[in-house]
């Protein structure tokens, strides 16, 4: 007897559950367990399936990649309070202020710098909304351009490494975080450039929407300004080196980079005398709460995918998606349209945890480079922050924007930037080289050779749970680096 109806039923059940507004983590876990019990009752699933659960949870706990999530969150929360963003915005604003659209360029530039340090969208949007928005209003910028450029530049944190989304994606696809970081760098910086280009276009077509500031708005000139530029640029540049430099040079794993960045942020806050007991406590508690909900969604989605694979759901999805006309390209287009539409309703964690484990194996079977696929999805998911009416960047901006900026201004302001992101998705789709060409195999192998990375690989055969994405397929995506890995294993075995 066949139970082909189980997988679609399960997926449908999950959608209904989620739409009711029950917490995502528990909806996933409960749907998984319910169908798991039904499957066992029908004799379709073996009772030992659920006994694998604790090992899976342990696998998530022991996953060294995911350890980077609290580290980067903590770093972002500490930095938010040290006034680094304020310093930067003020100084860069003085440099660019007097040219047409100058403050908008400053926002894009600072947005990219903040993105490369923290990877936390909320912090960037709040800081820029609080500081730059009033200035832009004072000098007569169009409300839509001002709010759009702030929200969009804030979301750069999500695509420019060290972004949390890329960590989650790498984990779900079984790819290396370092490779994904390198792959996302050019598309991320490209987006920043396109935002700036859009400001340029607006300042020519509608000069009144993006005026230059009058000369009297400047308080610093000549030498003093140069000194201020250097002093305000030092902290972010040091952090960027500590985190990204060490990761790209292959000196540190992303997890270690995150820890060093977090420690660096604490030291910086101490030096600036901004670190109070209260601030530290708030940062620690917020980090714990946020990490907890992310990890619990992951636990929930692990339960779900364990049973979903048990009822052959992966085969069902593969069947649906691999029979699309146009082969790999057809698959990519359908997937991107689907993610774009889902992004109106879901945010990136939900997409990454629910959709990516279903999509990655299919992509791999179609011969699609997983790093490229991941970056493509990450650029696409970035729109989920800017989609009216549920984009989080828009919410954050609304919460700090002055009353005279209407919510519709914020929504309409975001539209051109969503279109720019869609353009970027098309560019990445058309020219995979901008993602893959500069990822050096060597750097990948080195960054994958950190001690805990090695341990994870060695542990893998004993506890398949260490790749929470699920069954055997997920261990294959690393095939490109398979040689390096077995090399490392051989070396270690010889040592022992």
């Amino acid at each position: 007897m066949s139970f082909e109806f189980m997988a679609p039923l399960m997926f449908g059940g999950l959608v209904v559950f989620l739409l009711l507004g029950y917490p995502v983590a528990f909806s996933l876990a409960a749907t998984g367990l319910f169908f798991g019990l039904v499957g066992m009752e029908l004799g379709m699933l073996h009772p030992s399936l659920l006994q694998a659960l604790p090992e899976r949870v342990l696998g998530i706990m022991a996953n060294s990649t995911l350890l980077a999530i609290p580290f980067f969150t903590f770093m972002g929360l500490i930095l938010e309070r040290t006034g680094m963003a304020e310093d930067l915005l003020d100084t860069i604003g003085q440099v660019f202020g007097s040219i047409r659209g100058g403050i908008a360029y400053a926002v894009v530039f600072v947005g990219a710098l903040l993105a490369a340090t923290t990877g936390v969208v909320a912090a960037s949007v709040l800081a820029m909304g609080l500081i730059s928005l009033p200035v832009m209003m004072r000098y007569g910028y169009s409300k839509q351009l001002a709010s759009g450029v702030i929200a969009a530049s804030g979301t750069l944190a999500q695509i420019i490494p060290p972004s949390l989304v890329l960590i989650v994606l790498a984990d779900q696809m079984g790819a290396s975080v370092g490779d994904l970081y390198e792959g996302a760098l050019i598309p991320g910086l490209g987006l920043a450039a396109l935002y700036a280009a859009w400001v340029l276009v607006v300042s020519f077509v509608r000069p009144e929407a993006a005026p230059g500031c009058p000369p009297e708005s400047r308080t610093l000139y000549g030498g003093a300004l140069i000194v201020k530029v250097f002093t305000s640029m030092i902290p972010p540049l040091v952090l960027i080196f500590l985190v990204l430099g060490t990761i790209f040079l292959g000196v540190a794993t992303p997890t270690e980079g995150g820890a060093m960045g977090a420690s660096g942020a604490i030291v910086m806050a101490l030096v600036k005398r901004k670190l109070s007991w209260n601030l530290l406590k708030q940062a620690v508690e917020s980090t714990a709460n946020m990490t907890s909900f992310v990890m619990f969604i992951l636990v929930g989605s692990t339960v779900f995918s364990l049973v979903f694979r048990g009822v052959n759901g992966d085969l069902w999805v593969e069947h649906l998606l691999s029979d699309l006309p146009g082969g790999a390209l057809g698959f990519l287009i359908v997937v991107n349209v689907m993610i774009f539409l889902l992004a109106f309703f879901l945010d990136y964690f939900e997409i990454a945890f629910i959709m990516v484990p279903l999509l990655a194996p299919v992509a791999q079977k179609l011969g699609i480079d997983l790093i490229w696929f991941g970056v493509l999805l990450a650029v696409n998911m970035q729109t989920s922050f800017l989609h009216p009416p549920f984009g989080f960047a828009l919410f954050y901006l609304r919460s700090v924007a002055p009353k005279n900026i209407k919510t519709t201004d914020i929504y309409w302001g975001a539209v051109p930037f969503v279109l720019i992101q869609v353009l970027m998705v098309a560019v990445v789709l058309q020219f995979p080289g901008i993602v893959t060409s500069h990822i050096s195999k060597a750097a990948g192998a080195i960054s994958g050779s950190g001690a805990d990375e090695i341990r994870r690989q060695l542990e893998a055969p004993e506890s398949p749970a260490s790749t929470p994405g699920g069954a055997d397929e997920t261990s294959k995506p690393n095939e490109g680096k398979g040689d390096a890995k077995s090399e490392i294993e051989r070396m270690l075995n010889q040592q022992q």
Partner: protein, 180 residues
């Protein structure tokens, strides 16, 4: 109802205290990981025990904070439709969800984790890496965390029933943690 509300307040207070203490394990993980990384690259020293303590700390943090996060209503929901429903309907969804989703799921996971915990304790299982740590303490975290979560689930159900009976104001105000 009053006795139940007192029970609920007791659970809330206990889980909040546990969560606030466990949260600091996250800072410990940051410090340990930084020191590990520095040691590895400066004096080329590393120890599996210290590498493992990183994720032990992280696990303490995210598992033991979960119940408190539930109390703070921090767990993400999709409020496309749910957010538009009346508060009474939302309370009903949370009650039914608690009874038929959260409680069974948390208890099943806690229950299934017991045999491996007992086994791990009896054979005093160690990490498979040389110099690794003893395993049962982290295995113990799983049933403890999911039991605390189930308790918090009971408390949330009590509060929503009390709300439906007009005893307390709506407990499910939406809070999303900063920094997402």
């Amino acid at each position: 109802m009053n006795a139940l509300l007192r029970l609920s307040a007791l659970i809330d207070a206990a889980n909040e205290r546990i969560g606030k203490i466990a949260a600091w394990a996250g800072l410990l993980a940051v410090i340990v990981c930084t020191v590990n990384a520095i040691f590895r690259y400066t004096v080329n020293m590393s120890s599996n025990a210290w590498l493992e303590i990183q994720w032990y700390f992280n696990a303490v943090m995210f598992l033991l904070v979960a119940a408190w996060a539930l109390k703070r209503n921090d767990h993400v929901r999709i409020d496309v439709i749910g957010g538009k429903l009346s508060r009474r309907t939302q309370a009903w969804i949370d009650i039914l969800g608690g009874l038929f989703a959260l409680l069974p799921a948390a208890l099943i996971i806690a229950w299934y984790s017991l045999p491996s915990l007992v086994n791990s304790y009896q054979i005093s299982e160690y990490s498979s890496d040389p110099g690794g740590l003893i395993r049962w303490p982290v295995r113990l975290l799983i049933p403890v965390a999911f039991s605390l979560l189930a308790l918090q689930g009971v408390s949330e159900i009590i509060k929503r029933v009390a709300f439906l009976r007009g005893a307390i104001p709506f407990p499910g105000e939406h809070a999303r943690p900063e920094g997402v």
